[in-house]
């Protein structure tokens, strides 16, 4: 069982590295015959690579989805914002003494109209990972989100949130500043909104840290993103006292987009390009933008009161249980 996306994609990476070398070799090749022969060799390799990608991604198991969802070359929130919005002005601060970079946000224009964007933000370089607290948002991140939601309501901007977090920060400092209260208050605030809200799970939808900014009118999931009540490793460690049985837990937790859709917990799955979002940023960004705009258009037709009531009703329905009415 692979532990990381990199590990899981290693055979593919080796193939791609070989391809790259071959291409480089051929670029310098002087002899036309050799060049031509190698060209067809390259084409063969490419076809193999494409088939490989296709097969690998055709039927991703839940654990492989976990790995892909966490891939660090997948587009992050600010990558989407940059690609699908313009005029983004990042606003900062919780106005309470603290600042957090694991949640970012501010007004931006999409398709010529202003929206309020809020999202979890992971980092790629070591420095940025630290700055972003590895995507674990702190209380001040949710309090900043609340401030931006209020601003969106005041100025009638639709809210778009991007979800991508392994979970909220559970450390001693986060606890002492009330991480639970911050998440709860953020969910609470989202239900106050009378402007439309749309959430897109772009990578990891990790438990309370995710739902903290995902209580929206429409919730969309990327094809290979995950959304779970608990990290599979944590679940495995509680259930079987074996954190390395994450794959089994991932299966049990039903954390894929398809399962979420089957249980009617999300509104749509946004298809990813072949080989995953990380293999083709322009395509996934275009897909995400199109989905957002289409749902926005639908929500635009509704009154503020309906927007608020619909959001309530959406979550009100959730939960499968025996209501004791039918025997």
């Amino acid at each position: 069982m692979s532990k990381t996306h990199k590990e899981w994609e290693r055979p593919l990476k080796e193939l791609e590295d070989a391809l790259l070398k071959l291409k480089e070799l051929n670029r310098r090749e002087q002899d036309p015959a050799t060049k031509e022969r190698r060209e067809s060799q390259i084409s063969g390799f490419e076809a193999r690579r494409d088939r490989y990608v296709e097969v690998m991604y055709a039927n991703l198991g839940p654990w492989e989805k976990v790995l892909v969802a966490r891939a660090d070359n997948r587009p992050y929130t600010l990558d989407y914002v940059q690609a699908i919005c313009h005029n983004f002005v990042e606003l900062q601060g919780d106005r309470n003494g603290f600042t957090d970079h694991a949640i970012v946000g501010g007004p931006a224009m999409i398709d010529g109209r202003p929206v309020m964007v809020v999202g979890h933000q992971k980092g790629r370089s070591i420095q940025e990972r630290q700055l972003r607290n590895f995507g674990y948002a702190r209380p001040e991140g949710y309090r900043k989100a609340i401030r931006l939601f209020e601003m969106a309501e005041r100025f009638r901007l639709p809210v778009i949130t991007f979800i991508d977090t392994p979970g909220a920060d559970a450390g001693v400092e986060a606890e002492s500043r009330g991480i639970s209260e911050a998440i709860a208050a953020s969910i609470f605030k989202m239900f106050e909104l009378t402007v439309p809200s749309i959430s897109v799970i772009i990578g990891e939808g990790g438990s309370g840290g995710a739902i903290g900014i995902a209580a929206s009118n429409k919730v969309l999931m990327l094809e290979h993103s995950i959304y779970s009540v608990i990290a599979p490793e944590g679940c495995a460690s509680i259930l079987w006292r074996q954190a390395d049985r994450g794959a089994d837990a991932a299966k049990a937790l039903k954390l894929t987009a398809q399962c979420a859709l089957d249980f009617d917990l999300i509104d749509a799955i946004i298809p990813e390009p072949k080989g995953g979002a990380h293999r083709d940023w322009p395509t996934i960004c275009a897909n995400v933008k199109a989905e957002i705009l289409s749902h926005l258009a639908e929500l635009d037709t509704k009154s503020p009161a309906t927007i608020n009531q619909d959001r309530y009703d959406r979550f009100r329905r959730m939960g499968v249980f025996n209501d004791g009415l039918q025997p």
């Binding site: 559970a170 709860a184 239900f191 438990s207 309370g208 903290g212 679940c235 959730m318 499968v320």
Partner: protein
């Protein structure tokens, strides 16, 4: 810290904290609080209802709701069946109507003994119905929390209960209907991070465990020193997260005071 259950034997029991021997009758009369060290032992939902609300006023609702196993989660059906059999109830949450010094209130009381009070769909539904009954009637909601968090065996459906219950609390707030939460031991994770923390007034029992993640996780995640009272009601109070730590024997009186002062002006019709 973790074990709040006294060791029981015929006629007497042992305090889970100071280990002193207490006569069962004294223990009962003292509301399961150790007369020596003041340790608040956990209460069953029925006991909690008995000592809090007007005698005979409680009318249970929603008891017909029972959990399913929608994810076909390993071992869940067995655990559930065993809890139902042992506790003789369908869920950790008991909900219904009661009166507090004559004032009608909508109540929900969690029992940690039933699967750690975890919040699955039934639990979330009962909380939501309780808050909706408050919003609809204008009568205050009172919820006693005791939970380790969301019920992972119901996966994302459990996580969504955080949103559902918090939405119902927001309805009460919007309508000016008061909602009081009492954190008993323990109030954790997905419950603390949803409906529990958005109450108008939050009371807690002394030393109740109150926190987001298990202590081990918190230590791993943080770099700071862990304070001695970390994740207790007192820590939460010191960090501005709750309004008061209220000893069990004063809880009813405090709830009556609050209900009378904040519940008097119904803005809805």
């Amino acid at each position: 810290m973790s074990n709040r259950e006294p060791n029981k034997a015929e006629g007497f029991l042992q305090c889970a904290n100071c280990k002193k021997i207490i006569f069962s009758v004294d223990f009962e009369q003292n509301l399961s609080v150790c007369p020596y060290c003041g340790h608040h032992h956990r209460l069953s939902a029925s006991k909690r209802i008995e000592i809090t609300f007007d005698p005979g006023s409680f009318r249970e609702l929603d008891q017909e709701l029972s959990s399913l196993n929608p994810l076909d989660f390993p071992e869940y059906a067995e655990k559930l069946a065993s809890a139902v059999e042992k506790q003789q109830t369908n869920d950790s949450m008991t909900s219904g109507l009661a009166a507090l010094d004559g004032i009608p209130v909508c109540v929900a009381v969690s029992d940690f003994n039933f699967m750690g009070g975890s919040m699955g769909a039934v639990n979330g539904e009962k909380i939501t119905r309780t808050l909706e009954r408050a919003a609809d009637s204008g009568n205050p909601a009172i919820i006693f929390c005791a939970s380790g968090g969301a019920r992972m065996q119901e996966g994302l459906l459990s996580l969504m209960q955080m949103a559902k219950t918090t939405a119902a609390a927001q309805r009460c707030s919007k309508l000016g209907v008061p909602y009081f939460a009492v954190f008993s031991d323990p109030t954790m994770a997905g419950v603390l991070a949803s409906y529990a923390s958005v109450a108008d007034v939050i009371l807690a029992e002394p030393k109740a465990l109150v926190g987001f993640a298990g202590l081990r996780v918190s230590k791993q995640a943080g770099v700071g020193k862990v304070p001695d009272d970390f994740q207790t009601a007192e820590f939460a109070l010191h960090h501005g997260m709750i309004d008061r730590v209220v000893p069990r024997k004063e809880m009813r009186a405090t709830l009556i005071q609050l209900t009378k002062m904040l519940g008097g002006f119904k803005t809805h019709v």
